[in-house]
Amino acid sequence: MIQINNLHKSYVTGNNSLHVLKGLNLEIEEGEFVSIMGSSGSGKSTLLNILGILDNYDEGAYSLDGHLMQDMNETQAARTRNKMIGFIFQSFNLISFKNAMENVALPLYYKGISRKKRNQMAMEFLEKLGLKEWAHHMPNELSGGQRQRVAIARALISKPRIILADEPTGALDTQTSYEVMEMLKQINDEGITVIIVTHEYDIAAMTQKIIRLKDGVIEEIIKNGDLKSFQAQYNRNINKPEHHV
């Protein structure tokens, strides 16, 4: 599903050039449930930008579903995003002046689907996630967990092949976090590739594969079988002060 070969990316600000990704190689199969970890500055968000076709890269190759993502103009990128990728964010990022249903329907608006039809579809998705009664509430009338569920519905409505979640549980308490993870797991069970960025070990431990980034390259990949040892490491790490990103 995702193939990354020797990916380089630098940010140039004035005279300074910051080399963020330094020849990263990565392969993610369709239907995988993957988490990306790494300290601040390890290149997580840059990688996420590139995976989500929100940014270009300098060198190497990135193929999504067998298509090389290169030299796309912004319109093509937007179309591909709309079709292939669903985004979930740490702070939900619902649009404050639209109610839950309108927020969920938004990706369909960019697809050019009529208002009636997209609102109907949005209602179906909200119902699936148990938010039917909240459909006409504004985001500020919803709890954190509800907001994130609305955001998940919004990510799913365009029937993407990949869900990219940037710290999806970062703003939620433990119990709600686990509920959201459970939901993502269900989405994954339906065959959608799910990639989450997190710095929480317990969250990462719920995925099938953990990719740890350090200094712009992959430091290690922890696969399903190794999760036990990761658990041990997580226990070791939990005693250290965490670096919040």
Partner: protein, 422 residues
């Protein structure tokens, strides 16, 4: 384009900070308001002045004499002199291209004190001697009776045409002045008509307060001999009145031994030239109006652009979400540009309406004031439809311009950066 989501977003963006939107819109509003009101005021002045002279034959010139300004042919400087009727016949015979030529007499000797008496009423009025043709050059409208005719001239009839004010002070309201007699400087004249001036160009006093006699009657009754005090002339079609003016002046100067370069001895007004000057003046006024108006409008538009930049900055997160969800650049750009166009057009439209409304109001007030009779040189301060439409088009273009820079800025937003809580 006309999806309700879009208008919802525009409404939200503009009402989020109402005071700011209002102040921004005010800049544009004021620009267009000024433009409309100033253009209208300029037009008012133009209409007013043109109205005062428009009935005047444009191709006309008027000449009258003064004391000489230069010594010439043994005559001293400061000599009193007059044109005479032989000049008129000479000009008629020797100058080509004259359409109407009308000599005129002014009753200077008869002016002073109450020169007009009727029963126990007295009044002080101007007296003029005219040929029938004079009203072809400087039109009047006859309220009652008739104007002087050829038979009056030929028979030197003792008749007179009086201005409206003369009628007012010498007759009762219920009285018909036609056929009644007025004693003017000791001579009785029968009133044959009452006139109202059509123009506001006056020689030797206002026409409303003048008693008009047949030229020949006046010559004889008051002993003016063959004097002529004013020559009015109009040119035939295709002939420049300026060239006629020059020819006539030269002839008269020659016949009366006036120095050819003496500008003071004989004065003239050329309506053609006056009109050209006025046209230049009004062109100047309207250019100035547009420069100031467009300048103010531009300041308003730059204000809009500035605020749109701030709005884009404020909505970085929102635009980031939209882009992550698959909004194409076209959607984002058209959104921002449309917001700017809506703001400018709305503000501009209000400015336009209020400006036109104010002009209407002034127009009505002026019409009421003018109906009293005595005119101000100000009338119908209006603005033409094409000008208003052009202003509206300028507004929409200005909105597009004001929105395009912030829209470009919005495209540079990197969604992930905008959305992370860092």
């Amino acid at each position: 384009m006309f999806d309700i989501e879009r208008w919802n977003e525009i409404w939200n963006a503009l009402t989020k900070n109402k005071l700011r939107s209002f102040l921004t819109a005010f800049g544009v509003f004021w620009g267009i308001f000024m433009l409309i009101v100033m253009t209208g005021a300029g037009n008012g002045l133009k209409h007013g002045i043109y109205d005062g002279v428009s009935k005047f034959a444009v191709n006309s010139a008027f000449m009258w004499t003064q004391r000489t300004g230069e010594p010439y042919k043994g005559f001293k400087r400061g000599r009193f002199w007059n044109m005479n009727t032989t000049d008129i016949t000479y000009i008629e015979d020797h100058v080509q291209g004259i359409k109407y030529l009308a000599p005129k007499l002014f009753g200077w000797k008869e002016r002073g004190g109450d020169n007009t008496v009727r029963d126990n009423r007295t009044g002080a009025f101007n007296i003029a001697g005219d040929y029938p043709v004079y009203t072809k050059i400087d039109p009047v409208s006859m309220v009652k009776g008739r104007w002087i005719n050829e038979i009056d001239i030929r028979n030197k009839r003792k008749v007179c045409v009086i201005g409206e004010k003369v009628e007012e002070s010498m007759f009762d309201k219920s009285e018909n002045p036609i056929g009644k007699y007025l004693k003017v400087s000791g001579v009785y004249f029968q009133v044959i008509g009452v006139l109202k001036p059509e123009t506001r160009v006056n020689f030797n006093g206002r026409k409303e307060e003048t008693i008009f006699l047949p030229f020949t009657t006046m010559q004889q009754a008051y002993n003016y001999g063959n004097e002529v005090h004013l020559i009015a002339v109009t040119s035939k079609k295709g002939v420049s009145v300026s060239s006629l003016e020059d020819q006539i002046l030269t002839i008269i100067k020659k016949r009366h031994s006036i120095a050819p370069k003496d500008e003071q001895a004989i004065r003239s007004i050329n309506i053609e030239k006056q009109f050209q000057q006025m046209n230049g003046l009004f062109l100047g006024i309207s250019i100035l109006t547009w420069i100031v108006g467009i300048g103010t409008l531009l300041a308003g538009v730059i204000g809009v652009s500035n605020i749109m930049l701030v709005i884009v900055k404020e909505r970085t997160r929102e635009i980031g979400i939209q882009r992550a969800l698959g909004a194409t650049p076209k959607v984002i750009i058209s959104q921002i540009v449309l917001e700017s166009v809506v703001l400018t057009t709305l503000a501009g439209y209000i400015g336009l309406s209020l400006g036109v409304g104010l002009l209407e109001l002034i127009s009505n007030v002026l019409a009421k004031m003018n109906s009293g009779g005595d005119g101000v040189f100000y009338k119908d301060p209006t603005i033409d439809l094409p000008v208003a439409l052009a202003a509206l088009a300028v507004l929409i273009l200005a909105g597009l311009f004001a929105g395009s820079i912030p829209a470009k800025r919005a495209l540079q937003i990197k969604p992930i950066d905008a959305l992370r809580d860092e």
